[in-house]
């Protein structure tokens, strides 16, 4: 175990010196700043005001930016080290593959989750400063949803990272995964439904198998328990799953997806040639 924490500590230290980390932290911190400057907390759109409105916008931005940031920065963690022979040297020391892989995973989780979480906390502090009521339940659940989304895409990224030999192929695959999942939030599903090729139930099932959609539905449900924003599908979801189970699903399902891919990645890491 001590080597696992050593690897994660060193990975965090390495990330804190990387340019990508500063861009990543700046994007989320900067966005939060932009929200304050643009007065989102004072605006009223579709009935959402104050901190709820800010969190709603933050959620929409998170859906697009967070997955691709996690994928492109994490996918190089094993494949990049393999390509540059860093893996060969680091694994010539008596460290088990389990400690190395999961240590890297833990380190990367800390570096991708905390900037977003801290940006969220800054928003909450801003809300306190402005004197508004803090929806603590919403903040905690939203933090859990972000954590769940981070773990989901970290798992996918580590799987890709161990699957491919080349960093460039890993990047290409990451973009393909991102585009596919984004497309299946709306565009591709609407296309399928309009052409009546498959039943509505199948389309909704496909949508709910997408961890991005699970995050989106969960996040929207925080602000709008009736899910009126997403239209008639809301009735189907709420009738079938109920609000409580829907929230549980939105938090747990992406974590399961991430864990499954991370374990597949670990199995590949152990079974395949390391170099």
């Amino acid at each position: 175990m001590k080597n696992l924490f050593l690897i994660s500590y060193l990975d965090i230290r390495e990330s804190l010196r990387s340019k990508w980390f500063y861009v990543y932290a700046f994007v989320f911190g900067g966005l939060m700043g932009l929200f304050f400057i643009s007065g989102i907390t004072d605006s009223v759109v579709m009935g959402f005001t104050g901190l709820s409105r800010l969190l709603l916008v933050f959620m929409q931005v998170t859906i697009v930016i967070l997955p691709i940031f996690i994928l492109i920065t994490t996918v190089k963690s094993i494949s990049g080290d393999r390509e540059s022979n860093i893996l060969e040297y680091m694994l010539s020391f008596p460290i088990s593959l389990k400690e190395y892989y999961w240590g890297k995973f833990l380190g990367r989780f800390v570096t991708v989750f905390f900037p977003v979480f801290v940006a969220l906390l800054v928003g909450v502090v801003w809300g306190l400063f402005k004197g508004g009521a803090i929806p603590w339940g919403m903040v905690i659940l939203y933090s859990l949803l972000i954590l769940s989304l981070c773990l989901s895409f970290l798992g996918v990224a580590f799987f890709i990272s161990t699957l491919v030999k080349s960093h460039d192929v890993g990047l290409g695959l990451s973009f393909a995964v991102w585009i596919l999942l984004l497309a299946f939030i709306d565009v591709a599903l609407i296309g399928l439904m309009m052409q009546n090729r498959v039943s509505d139930g199948v389309v909704i099932t496909i949508a709910m198998l997408n961890p991005l959609e699970a995050f989106r539905i969960g996040a929207i449900a925080l602000f709008d328990p009736e899910l009126t924003v997403i239209g008639p599908v809301a009735y189907y979801l709420l009738d079938t799953l109920g609000h409580g189970f829907l929230m549980l699903y939105a938090v747990v399902y992406p974590i399961l997806v991430g864990a499954l891919f991370a374990f597949f990645g670990y199995a590949l890491f152990r079974k395949k040639d390391l170099l």
Partner: protein, 218 residues
């Protein structure tokens, strides 16, 4: 370590990459006291064999034991006894201080011992401890890797063209340090320059087309 003077035992090892045979029924035993120059043309299988010995590759057939352990299934036990220097220093992003900490914590080698070995090669580790390893010059990086490998006092030392990025003076220091190793060990030097290792090695192994074609004691 399991009681044996045989450090590396390679039996009928086969390794294929995408259908091409890279190691073809290789048999080899390296015992304590053996200092082996492993030679052969590019693509002969030298680096592949060493990577199999270090547990980086899964072999397609045969058996490898290092200090009595399987390098893939019992890699931690194997690597406790191995010091490795790659051909080219990898662009490790850790600072020199962090790298020493990693070595200290993972292998139990004290940072002081590494600093002492580095000083013997005229490298001041303390001065560079905050610098990322990859920003050191090629020679400095190689000196540090050599210092780490020698400070570990490993039973098996594996060097893949270790002097490739060293100037002649540093090479001299390196050879002197190898000659002054004061404990029983075995060493494998992958090299194209056998003449430089004269006096250091007591065995020469030639590989070609994935086979050991000559194994000569000097």
């Amino acid at each position: 370590m399991k009681a044996s003077t045989v450090i590396v035992d390679v039996e009928n090892v086969r390794k294929r990459f995408q259908g091409a045979t890279v190691l073809d029924n290789v048999n080899l035993q390296i015992s304590l006291g053996d200092r082996v120059a492993m030679m052969g043309p590019n693509g002969a299988g030298k680096t592949t064999l060493v990577r199999c010995i270090l547990g980086f590759y899964h072999i397609d057939g045969g058996r490898i034991r290092v200090t009595g352990y399987d390098p893939v299934k019992e890699r931690v036990e194997v690597l406790k006894s191995v010091g490795f220097i790659p051909q080219l220093p990898p662009p490790v992003k850790l600072t020199v201080g962090e790298l020493l900490r990693f070595v200290e914590r993972s292998s139990g080698t004290s940072a002081a011992a590494i600093r002492k070995k580095a000083e013997e090669m005229e490298l001041d580790v303390v001065k560079h401890s905050q610098k990322p390893f990859f920003k050191l010059s090629g020679g400095m990086k190689q000196k540090l890797l050599i210092a780490i490998a020698l400070a570990r006092r490993s039973r098996l030392l594996v060097f893949d063209e270790p002097t490739a990025s060293l100037d002649p003076r540093a090479r001299e220091h390196f050879y002197e340090m190898l000659q002054s190793i004061d404990y029983e060990h075995a060493a494998i030097y992958i090299t194209h320059r056998a003449e430089e290792l004269a006096g250091l090695v007591n065995r020469e192994i030639y590989m070609d087309l994935g086979k050991v074609v000559d194994d000569e004691r000097i």
